[in-house]
């Protein structure tokens, strides 16, 4: 925008460009763990409840360097991923249907809330009885945990999609699939993604609880083992790893959401 012949001064300089603001966001995001680490270092001398960050990070590094972390990571990682995918794949279409039909919502909403609240600790012995100890039981446990938030968020999000857009879709003769993928899901995406992200994060804790409960391998088992002998640096190293994995997964989902919305 330049000064024109009318002699009107140009407005102030334009705002930061898209790439610059994305860059700023990345810096801010990166600053969060750095700041957390700094707090950890600052508070470390005051309590022996928490190990020093140096020890913890050293252990984490050791876990990879010495290789003892891989079997646990593989076991937990596969349960988390497969269970999350399974839970989402089941919950998403059901949530979609519930969101599209008031009748289904009215029928199932209270039932879902009820079954959702059944303590997981009870569920796991049942799963063990059905599947035995191993990936299947753990995966199912994860799937059930991821199922509910995805179902409820999807239903709510789809229900909130505005009528005029549905009308547009119908008038264009969109197939059910097109209506879902090109109108309802993009419109509902932010709220659906809340459920999916919660489901994904919960998947980790579900896998870990399952492993605390009965497991042959996994990060949960390693946590309980480290805790039992009060090897806090090792325990914190594993907890850190879990959160890191969840964070990276969340960023991936975030990115996917952006793609989804762009259609």
């Amino acid at each position: 925008m330049t000064t024109t012949e009318t002699g009107i001064a140009a407005p102030p300089a334009p705002r930061p460009t898209a790439s610059r603001s994305a860059w700023r966001l990345s810096v801010a995001r990166a600053a969060v763990p750095v700041a957390a680490l700094a707090c950890w270092y600052a508070l470390d001398p005051f309590s022996e409840l928490v190990p020093s960050p140096t020890d913890t990070l050293g252990r984490l590094y050791g876990g990879f360097a010495e290789g003892w972390i891989y079997p646990g990571l593989a076991a937990t990682g596969s349960a988390v991923l497969s269970g999350f995918v399974l839970g989402t794949v089941l919950a998403f279409p059901l949530g979609y249907l519930m969101g599209r039909s008031r009748t289904l919502t009215a029928i199932f909403e209270p039932l879902v809330a009820g079954t959702f609240a059944v303590p997981r600790v009870i569920l796991y012995p049942i799963l063990l009885a059905v599947f035995g100890v191993g990936l299947e039981a753990e995966m199912t446990m994860v799937a059930i945990s991821a199922f509910f938030p995805v179902l409820m968020s999807t239903a709510a999000a789809v229900r909130a999609v505005s009528g005029s857009l549905l009308k547009l879709g119908r008038s264009l003769n969109a197939s059910r699939l097109q209506l879902a993928t090109k109108i309802v899901i993009p419109e509902a995406a932010p709220s659906i993604m809340v459920g999916i992200r919660i489901g994904f994060s919960i998947a980790f804790i579900a896998a870990i609880i399952a492993e605390l409960f009965a497991a042959k391998a996994g990060l949960g088992l390693m946590i309980s083992q480290a805790f039992a002998v009060l090897d806090l640096p090792r325990m914190y190293a594993i907890v850190l790893l879990v959160m890191l994995a969840a964070f990276l997964g969340n960023m991936l989902l975030w990115w996917a959401e952006g793609r989804l919305r762009r259609g």
């Binding site: 005029s164 009308k167 879709g169 008038s171 264009l172 097109q178 090109k182 993009p186 762009r262 259609g263």
Partner: protein, 284 residues
Amino acid sequence: MRVSESTGQQLREADGHGVGLGVRLDDVCVVYATKDGEGVEAVRSAEGHIADGRFVSLIGPSGCGKSTLLDVVGGLRTPVRGGVSIDGEPVTGPRRDTAMVFQEDSTLHWRTVLSNVAFGLEIAGVGRKEREAAARDMINLVGLKGFEHRHPRELSGGMKQRVAIARALLLDPRILLMDEPFGALDQQTRMFIGRELLRVWDETRKSVLFVTHDIQEAVYLSDEVWIMSARPSHIMEKIVVDLDRPRGPETLTSLRFHELTSQVWELLRAESEKVLDASGELTA
């Protein structure tokens, strides 16, 4: 249904086209269910025939059921009685050869202008390159060049409306249903887009049902102007517009044009007053 005699010419239903062709409204009655259980009788009985390739404007007081009727013709709403048939086939749902422009904002706010305009073709399965090239032309036509990559949030009210018009026109449907498409446009832009619409219509001979509040626009564009009564509504009067085509600026100044608009205006005024009268507040 009484054909307005003052048109000086009987309504020739077929008007050079096949008798069975076109859109036929048969005793359409729409009642909205309301929570108090009473229901709102939006349209009591609408009858009419849009012969193939004819341009019909629908005009009537606010809240009389025009949008409702358009929904019925578009297959989006099932009447409680009566029905619509197109080329003899009853309308049971949306059809591929019908395109609609809605009264409310119907832009997809997560898509750019370009991909909003191309959306109809995308749904119809046209490839990206092809549909985007076509969409660009249409965007130019409605004066949105330079805004291809903006999102609806960054557009003014009139610009969003033009996006919706472009989307419908791009589909090149046989039947075009438009609900106050030019409502938020300035007079010059609406005339320009109106003329473009006429040109497209003339080339492709669509049947058009066009809701507007602008009487001059209705008369200028149409073969027939249908006037809807106040709610519970029916189509009260059908005025055949016997102005020569192609129409141009001289049409607007012709005596016949003036006669027709006055006629529509008189009919309409009485109806609108009913609504306002009902409020018991009308100051003479």
